[in-house]
Amino acid sequence: MNTADQYLKAVYLAQRIEDGPASTGTLADMLEVSPASVNEMVGKLEERGLVEHEKYKGATLTDEGLERAHNALQTYCIIERFLANVLEVERFREEARALESVIDDTVAERLDTIIDRRAECPDCFDADADCCEYLELEVGNQAD
């Protein structure tokens, strides 16, 4: 997943958590980057018509940005589910965050052929818990 898609996903989740525009501070915390980096990237996304930015309030996804954020969150959900249910990784959230930049959408689509994901994905993603609300960790012999 590229950096722009990771930002769009973060804006989407921050909007849900804050029930309004995604503030620079929240995005900086979520992405573990500086507020200056957030402002720079949000500016680029705004130029591409993917977010609207209002001074002192924050960023809001446009319709096009929302569609891309949905796809990015689905990809992330596939990675989390794959780690939790196929590789049986206990710390799947942390590992998904570490791996998402290396896993391409097409790779996630192939992994999606062996996991169970609900039709409403990504609406069932719990932004506060940072995982799908229906995700249950498989227990058994872990592949690590």
Binding site: A10, V86, S101, V102, T106, R110, L111, A143
Partner: protein, 164 residues
């Protein structure tokens, strides 16, 4: 969240190699399922060239898997067995309607594997960290597999073009 592609720890490398093994297992299993799942009439209609392509793809995936497993073994980790992945593929498998669908799925398999190794190589190259397994050997193995995936894409494309 981690921005930017980089593989910097044994743990992360191991996890990505494990994902590579599962991808190969998915390819191997889907190729086998395609041959078994087509209706008898379609199965007979699959010419020798397509049958050979699928059989070679399954063999090649098994070989890639073994090469990745050797590295994972050195990193002191385990992999998910082929039988487990085969069961998961089986549970959610939807057979393509015809031979063209089979070939298209096979093309996706090869392209996806190529993309995965390409990204993984780039992410390892972007990091200067050392691993418990020799970094050059990891890269050498992954580059060789990536090359074979590239040839796989070309092979499927050739067959598709001949049939068009």
């Amino acid at each position: 969240m981690s921005l930017g592609q980089r593989v910097s720890s044994d743990h992360q490398l191991t996890r990505l190699l494990q994902i590579g093994v599962v991808l190969e297992e998915v390819v191997e299993s889907r190729a086998a399922h395609h041959l078994e799942s087509l209706p008898a009439a379609e199965r007979e209609a699959i010419d020798e060239e397509v049958r050979e392509l699928l059989a070679e793809a399954a063999d090649e995936s098994a070989d890639h898997r073994e090469r990745l497993e050797a590295l994972i073994d050195e990193l002191d980790a385990e992999t998910v067995s082929y039988e487990d992945i085969n069961q998961l593929v089986d549970a959610r498998y939807g057979a393509p309607e015809d031979t063209d669908g089979v070939l298209y799925d096979q093309l996706c398999n090869e392209e996806t594997a190529y993309k995965f190794y390409d990204d993984l190589i780039e992410a390892i190259e972007a990091s200067d960290g050392e691993f418990a397994v020799d970094r050059d050997r990891v890269l050498e193995t992954l580059r060789a597999i990536r090359e074979e995936e590239k040839e796989g894409v070309e092979d499927v494309t050739d067959v598709m073009e001949r049939r068009a």
